[in-house]
């Protein structure tokens, strides 16, 4: 199985967490909020597009609201393949992080 990048992984999780309300703006805001990193709005579109092309996500054109000057939203929803991928990532992460302490300041400095 092909590994996902960290950003793809985060976006996939965001789409799952946002459920019915997952579209460009909400995904962007959610990721900024969690990571506290200044990513660009455009920066989330490429992973979204890639994940859709790979079949982890599906998308459909939804309604517009007045804040958007009448332009439609493109909603994303996670597919079965996407869910499987997330499960796999979770398993790997749990194995990898197993036993890692919360405060590991002294790592590598055993003097």
């Amino acid at each position: 199985m092909q590994m996902l990048t960290k950003l793809e992984e985060l976006i996939l999780l965001s789409v799952w967490r946002l459920g019915e309300n997952a579209y460009g703006t909400t995904v962007y805001k959610h990721i900024r909020q969690v990571t506290r990193k200044k990513i660009s709005l455009g920066g989330v579109y490429f992973p979204l597009e890639r994940l859709t092309n790979k079949g982890y996500l599906t998308s459909y054109i939804g309604e517009a609201n007045e804040n958007r000057r009448g332009l439609s939203k493109r909603y994303y929803r996670i597919t079965e393949k996407g869910t499987k991928a997330l499960n796999e990532i979770k398993r790997i992460n749990e194995v990898m992080w197993e036993g890692y302490p919360d405060f590991a300041f002294s790592a590598g400095k055993n003097t």
Partner: protein, 619 residues
């Protein structure tokens, strides 16, 4: 409108949509708008537009990579269509591409030749300051121009003309017998020069010190070929070569072989001082037989020095009417002349061939344009179909331009391959050592690329601009007629093309006839069944014996001797007198000393009088 803030311009939105590949309903721009309006309510207009512009700036890298991706994708598509077209119309494509390629190859080969001609003697570091001293000799008002000068001129010029930094003599020494151990050969390409030669000219020494070379009268500088011929793998420096079995020369230095684009050609250099030792110099200012080269000081001009030296000989020899004149070294190859006629020199061939190269290229380009245009009329239906399927006019323009430009560039690549293959053959034919590595070739290639591009564009304009403008229905129903303007254009092109071709063909025929004439022209003597044997020093003494023996041979009709070849008499003098001669009249007469039977052997037709004969004691 709810928000009247500084919303990004259309350019900004266009950048965004192209960078992130927004789809039909613009959900992407919608997302941007949504966040923008949120920031407006939270932090105000300024912060919001700052954010929006920030986002646009951050989209630029994606925009660039994205548009590159699409250009490459389109290029791939165009190339595919072009290859299909080539495969479908093999004959047409072959004629069109090879026609242009051969034209370009001719143009390139001639350009290489021309650039090589122009490169002569420019490799010397001091080239702009180097000059050859030449003479304008006056004979009853007529000027006879020669490039030979008196022996003592070079040192006298350094001493008396402050603008002249340095000077060297350059003497043709004739064949000498070289011997090193068992190896003995006659060497012909020998020049005697002053030690300043290496300071003035740039002939790099592989071995030895250029500041000390040729200082001793018995030192010698040889080129790498001669070094290998006599010494093989041994170090030549300090080895002794015996010349004419009497003089022992020590090898002082080894130079690289002189490049073919040098007017000074030699394999061996010996010191001028040696000629002085053996008394082969001539201290008269009135005689002239050797070359003199000078190097001016960087701030001196040629006119300045010309003014000073023109009366130089007259000052030494009062009754001489010879004027000295400088010829820039870099102009010798193309602009030098000899004798009474002041012709323009070899530069006329450079002009002539440049014009021919341009003509050939022009013909090839016109041919390419005509063929492309003619065939494109057949593609009207394709244009119609493409439009029906949804191609815009701009797509068609791009496709047709691209196609003919690619065709032209395939031709250019083919031309470069042809030139690379032909270069050795062409070098043989031109009697030169030509290669791609010639000064200015980059300019030519850039120029040719530009011409290729231009040809492609012009050839593609008819289908691109004319055909693409048609309404698909009309085209498909066959209501298309070729425009009058385009047919006029093509007619003019055809006329120009044929005129130029005919011009070149006539030129070729004239040159061919001229060459035939030169081969068959009666020279006043019969060159059929005539052989000559050059006699070297010692053999000359036994000439009479040789002649007696040769005449005994039934295959030999006649034997005679001549100091020079009848086709190449290089000795001239004005020192003649005859009854009734105007004492002020002077002219140059070529002279050649010959043996008895010369007239008979060469079957020279006598206008009056008789041949030399042993029966007259005065002969």
């Amino acid at each position: 409108m709810k928000h009247k803030g500084n919303r990004p311009s259309r350019l900004g939105l266009w950048l965004l949509t192209n960078a992130y590949g927004d789809s039909e309903h613009f959900p992407l721009i919608g997302d941007f708008e949504e966040i923008y309006s949120e920031i407006v309510t939270e932090k105000g207009d300024f912060a919001a537009s700052l954010w929006y512009w920030g986002q646009i700036v951050r989209s630029i890298p994606s925009f660039i990579s994205n548009s590159l991706y699409w250009s490459v994708a389109m290029l791939k598509n165009y190339l595919k269509v072009i290859l299909r077209n080539i495969r479908k119309h093999k004959g047409y494509s072959f004629i069109n591409i090879t026609g242009l390629a051969i034209g370009m190859a001719c143009c390139l080969l001639i350009s290489i030749w021309v650039l090589d001609e122009l490169s002569y003697d420019r490799f010397h570091t001091n080239a702009p300051q180097l000059y050859r001293v030449e003479e304008d000799q006056q004979y009853s008002g007529r000027v006879f121009h020669v490039a030979v000068t008196p022996h003592p001129l070079a040192p006298a010029l350094i001493e008396e003309i402050p603008e002249i930094l340095d000077a060297t003599r350059y003497v043709w020494s004739g064949g000498l017998l070289f011997r090193y151990g068992e190896k003995a050969f006659f060497e012909y390409s020998i020049r005697a020069v002053d030690p300043s030669f290496f300071q003035m000219f740039t002939f790099p020494l592989i071995k030895g010190d250029k500041n000390r070379a040729l200082e001793s009268a018995y030192s010698i500088v040889i080129n790498e070929d001669i070094a290998e011929k006599y010494f093989g793998m041994e170090d030549p420096l300090g080895k002794v070569i015996t010349i004419n079995n009497t003089h022992e020369f020590t090898v002082d230095g080894v130079i690289q072989s002189v490049p073919h684009n040098s007017i000074l050609q030699f394999e061996v250099l010996i010191p001028y001082a040696f000629l002085e030792k053996i008394g082969r110099t001539n201290l008269e200012f009135g005689s002239n037989s050797i070359g003199t080269y000078v190097q001016l000081r960087p701030n001196a001009t040629m006119d300045q020095v010309n003014a000073k030296i023109s009366g130089f000989i007259k000052a030494k020899v009062p009754d001489s009417a010879t004027e000295l004149v400088l010829k820039p070294l870099t102009r010798i190859h193309l602009h030098s002349y000899w004798g009474y006629e002041k012709d323009v020199g070899a530069i006329q061939y450079v002009y002539m061939f440049s014009i021919i190269a341009l003509f050939v290229l022009l013909i090839a380009c016109i041919n390419f344009m005509n063929l492309s245009t003619a065939r494109s009329s057949n593609r009207a239906k394709e244009v119609g179909m493409r439009k029906v399927v949804g191609a815009l006019k701009s797509h068609l323009i791009r496709q047709f331009y691209g196609e003919s430009v690619v065709f032209a560039f395939i031709a250019l690549i083919l031309a470069v391959i042809i030139v690379t293959v032909m270069l050795p053959i062409f070098s043989d034919f031109a009697d030169k050592d030509l290669s791609w590595n010639v000064g200015g070739i980059v300019t030519i290639l850039i120029g040719l690329t530009a011409i290729t591009f231009f040809t492609g564009l012009v050839a593609g304009s008819y289908p691109a601009l004319f055909l693409s403008a048609f309404q698909p229905v009309k085209v498909i129903r066959g209501a298309l007629k070729s425009g009058a303007a385009s047919s006029w254009f093509r007619k003019i092109l055809v006329v120009v093309q044929f005129s130029l071709s005919i011009l070149l063909v006539i030129g070729t025929v004239v040159v061919y006839q001229q060459l035939t004439y030169m081969k068959n022209k009666r020279l006043g003597w019969d060159k059929e069944h005539l052989v000559y044997i050059p006699l070297r020093d010692d053999v000359r003494k036994v000439y009479d014996t040789l002649k007696t023996e040769l005449v005994k041979d039934p295959h030999v009709l006649n034997v005679t001797a001549s100091s020079q070849l009848p086709s190449n008499i290089g000795s001239n003098s004005s020192n003649f007198n005859w009854e009734g001669k105007d004492p002020n009249f002077t002219t140059l007469i070529g002279n050649n000393s010959v043996d008895f039977d010369f007239i008979e052997t060469l079957k020279i037709e006598m206008k009056e009088g008789r041949s030399f004969s042993k029966e007259y004691s005065s002969d």
